[in-house]
């Protein structure tokens, strides 16, 4: 992996073939429709799938954003909207990937089970910059609660995004920027 950062434009939702073309370390400007969901919403979604019911949004090729935004001020789609820690979603994620989920945006490590499901089904894990909620909020053009409004900040929202900056952390081959990025830096500094 070189130190040069390659920026790619990507439209969500996207197909397995597009997911498999993405490589760990690439910087992406993501546009299109994604869905916000975090802890409590994941539990509900998986329970619903296990009961054999239809999910409240098309899960096939969908991209989920792990975010609990701050409320919107007047004239804005959402308030501050940076990623939350992804590992809390790990217990639910393999089931969602096997039901069509194509991409996830969050921050931090994923479990081996999640990475195995990603490789098997062709799903990709992006990181948005944790703590850059005001910056990311600018890329979110529309936000609409489509289910589980009772969960407040954790409700399921359909988000329309334009050039949302994210980085491919784990690709469909299991390459992982959290492992490789520090390794490259250390190799360069301790040779």
């Amino acid at each position: 992996m070189s130190d040069q950062v390659e920026t790619i434009r990507l439209q969500a939702p996207f197909a397995e073939s597009e997911a498999r073309a993405l490589k760990s370390g690439q910087r992406i400007l993501l546009s299109g429709v994604i869905y916000s969901l975090r802890d409590a919403g994941h539990k509900r979604l998986v329970e619903l799938l296990k009961r054999g019911e239809e999910p409240p949004f098309p899960l096939d090729n969908a991209v989920l954003y792990y975010v609990g935004p701050s409320p919107a001020k007047a004239g804005r789609a959402l308030g501050s909207a940076g990623p939350t820690t992804s590992s809390r979603m790990d217990p639910y994620t393999p089931c969602l990937i096997r039901n069509g989920l194509r991409g996830m945006i969050g921050k931090g490590y994923r479990s081996d089970e999640v990475v195995a499901a990603m490789k098997e089904c062709g799903a990709v894990y992006f990181a948005a910059i944790g703590g850059a909620g005001a910056l990311i909020s600018r890329a979110i053009k529309e936000a609409e609660v489509i289910a589980w409004e009772d969960l407040g900040t954790e409700a399921l929202r359909r988000l329309t995004v334009e050039n949302m900056p994210v980085t491919v952390v784990i690709d469909t081959e299991g390459n992982n920027l959290y492992r490789d990025g520090p390794h490259i830096w250390l190799t360069r500094h301790h040779d």
Partner: protein, 281 residues
Amino acid sequence: MSVREFDVAILRDAVEELCCKLACVLPDDIRDAIEQALEQEDSTVARQVLEDLLLNCEIAAEESVPMCQDTGMVVAFLDVGFDVSFLGDPYEAINEGVRRGYKKHVLRMSVVSDPLRRVNTGDNTPVMVTTRLVPGDRVTITMLCKGFGSENMSRLAMLLPADGEEGVRKFVIDTVAKAGPNACPPFVIGIGIGGTFDQVALAAKRALARPLTESNVDPFYAAMEQSLLAEINELGIGPQGFGGRATALGVAIEVLPTHIAGLPVAVNINCHAARHIQEVL
């Protein structure tokens, strides 16, 4: 000795104002540290993240939008002068300030009333307040809005006296390495050493409230802060864990006397949105 009567409405109104500043304006010491980290950073990916963080701060301050959606649980250190006599309940005043401030500035309500039954209180209260009695007639409030991405990666250990400085260093480095990308690096690391099980954690939290421009007053611990920071920034984790030099922006150590048989150590991690503020009333 004269007693100063202190109307708690002053405290309430101050807290209400401070909430917005805390959430939307990154303190100068942290901002300067990010700029300095950018100057020293040699990884392109890491530089891009640091530039985005500075841009994020600008947008947040300009538009009065929280820099991070996790506007935290509010932690307050209340230092009350011996000569202060409160007119009213200062704890309720602090909570009411947060209630008003979070609502007015549309910050995220992130507090549940019970750790297992988990019902959101809807107003981001209660505040975690620690009170200390100090000489004088002033009331000093120091507030943090503490995000839990980093709080969750913090740790406490009851080391043995034989573990010594080396044991403390190892525990700190290990904790930071384990936190990795989950806790939103570059971090500020608050370390408590000594005291008892409860007090060491509080010392670590107090360390996070200290501006990065100040070192521990004891040259021995000031040197340890510097050497730990250098060692942490050799881990290679870098901004957001993408690889780079800037894993931490600063290390602050607070120490306490302790028991002959113990060496408690607590490491409280703060993310780069290290929101702290102080006001003397």
